[in-house]
């Protein structure tokens, strides 16, 4: 989809905004090939995990721009998870290696500027690791829930 189409979808969505359930909201940016399949496996295996998470699928962790993380926080997410293929398993051979460098730096910067690093999480989850996906989501949700109400961030109004 082009940016324009995304915008259009967003506008269509505006009309049926309802009070969201599942607070605190957690956004998971996942890669199409490993983590999404892993999450899918968890689903088809009827495993249960926290409904606070909303999964956004992208082709590869290499496509997950740190701006997405900022955008999620801006829009009110309490936690953001980025997850993709294990090193060496990238469908595009090296997307996750590149993104690892990016996130290492970005996470470092977030921490330095005073964002509570408990609110961002990175993981490698393969297509066969439905269990790992479930435990990561559940642990992350618990962690987010245990954070004090005004946990530090720099993206939303105090």
């Amino acid at each position: 989809m082009e940016d324009k189409d995304v915008k259009k979808e967003e506008h269509k969505g505006r009309k049926h905004v309802e009070d969201s359930q599942g607070d605190p909201r957690i956004i998971a940016f996942v890669c199409n090939w490993c983590t999404y399949s892993g999450a899918d496996l968890a689903g088809t295996s009827r495993m249960k995990y926290s409904d606070n998470v909303r999964v956004i699928k992208l082709p590869c962790t290499g496509r997950i721009d740190p701006l997405f993380i900022v955008e999620a926080f801006k829009k009110g997410a309490k936690g953001v998870l980025v997850s993709g293929c294990h090193p060496g398993d990238c469908h595009y051979t090296s997307g996750n290696y590149h993104s690892r460098r990016k996130y290492a730096t970005f996470r470092d910067l977030l921490g330095y500027l005073g964002v509570d690093l408990d609110r961002v999480e990175f993981s490698w989850v393969s297509a066969s690791e439905g269990n790992k996906w479930v435990s990561i989501i559940n642990e992350f949700t618990d962690k987010i829930k245990s954070l004090p109400g005004k946990s530090t961030d720099i993206f939303t109004k105090k």
């Binding site: 967003e10 969505g13 505006r14 009309k15 049926h16 905004v17 829009k75 009110g76």
Partner: protein
């Protein structure tokens, strides 16, 4: 109102400032912070730095905030609700005093007031401007970047100030030019001693380096002059000149919010940015930085005076002092005057 004149000792001036602070006035004065001197809220007289010529930024933000909410909106179902942002501005600045600014900064208010009222009335600006009380101090030693005298003001001008303080022999003379000024000192009038105009030291004879009319007449005739492209090759388009300028008032209007609610805001903007005039079609009337700096000169020294009878510049020299690439607007204005 007819001007009134008072005498006040340095000690009483301190008492006066401390008293108005005690009476819940927010006093904004040049104060040392962040590795420089800026206008900021002071909690006692000593925090004011009255020796500095000019703080790095002007106090424009108290008249035209860097971000102002014009309206707020919210959606419920298909309905949109709009809340007027003006309500929040009512009474703004009523208890705010700018203390220790210079005559150039004070002159900026009434000059900007013209563009905000020349047809449609911008009540956001008006409400703030109407209520803000300005107590300025006349300059004794302007520096090399100052050119208020050329800009039809002077280091001792009371234009735009509600009260102008002039230092003489360890004490101050207060020239009160408005009801607002009078109201401010009224409760503490025993600190002041009324005096006659003749007692106030006369203004010095400030010399002009060039005639601004000549600058204008050059600009009148030379829109396409090589000077602009050559001279401003060194301009990096940072916009510091416009952001620190007490009279630059251009702004941008933007909507910002989520799917439920948000607000329409106006933010400071600058003619030095390429996107300022960029059309949707991709056409941009001002392509080079030379074009953009020329616009700044034109707006300050030609356009505004033709339209509103005032130059859009008070000669504070902030744009020159703060320019990272050392473009000195006084030098430029003089160059243009010399070429006319």
């Amino acid at each position: 109102m007819e001007e009134k004149y008072f005498e006040i000792s340095a000690e009483n001036l301190k008492k006066f400032v401390d008293s108005i602070i005690a009476d819940n006035f927010e006093v904004i004065a040049p104060t040392d912070k962040d590795g420089g001197t800026f206008y900021g809220k002071i909690s006692r007289f000593e925090e004011a730095n009255l020796d500095i010529l000019l703080p790095k930024m002007s106090y424009k933000e108290y008249l035209l905030p860097k971000t102002e909410t014009l309206l707020e909106y919210s959606f419920s179902g298909v309905d949109t609700e709009i809340k007027d942002g003006l309500e929040a501005v009512a009474g703004a600045n009523e208890k705010r005093v700018i203390f220790g600014g210079r005559p150039c900064d004070a002159g900026a208010g009434p000059i900007m007031e013209k563009v905000f009222n020349w047809d449609y009335k911008d009540e956001f600006f008006n409400e703030r401007f109407k209520n803000l009380t300005i107590v300025s101090i006349a300059c004794e030693k302007p520096d090399n970047y100052c050119f208020c005298t050329e800009m039809q003001l002077s280091p001792e001008s009371s234009y735009g100030s509600d009260i102008l303080l002039k230092k003489a022999e360890g004490k101050y003379f207060a020239v009160v030019t408005s009801e607002k000024g009078l109201n401010l000192i009224e409760p503490y009038i025993n600190l002041f001693k009324e005096t006659a105009k003749a007692q106030v030291p006369a203004d010095k004879d400030w010399k002009k380096l060039f005639e601004i009319e000549r600058t204008k007449s050059f600009l009148d005739k030379n829109f396409e002059h090589n000077y602009f492209q050559d001279r401003f090759l060194s301009c990096i388009g940072c916009g510091v000149c416009t952001y620190t300028c007490p009279t630059c008032h251009c702004f941008d209007i933007q909507d910002e919010g989520n799917l439920k609610e948000g607000r329409r805001i106006r933010n400071w903007d600058s003619c030095q940015f390429g996107v300022f005039t960029l059309h949707t079609s991709g056409h941009n009337p001002r392509v080079t930085q030379g074009d953009r700096y020329r616009q700044r000169l034109m707006h300050k020294f030609k356009i505004y005076s033709e339209k509103f009878d005032k130059y859009l510049c008070v000669g504070c020299g902030r744009c020159s002092r703060n320019c990272p690439e050392d473009i000195d607007i006084k030098e430029v204005a003089k160059d243009l005057a010399d070429m006319a």
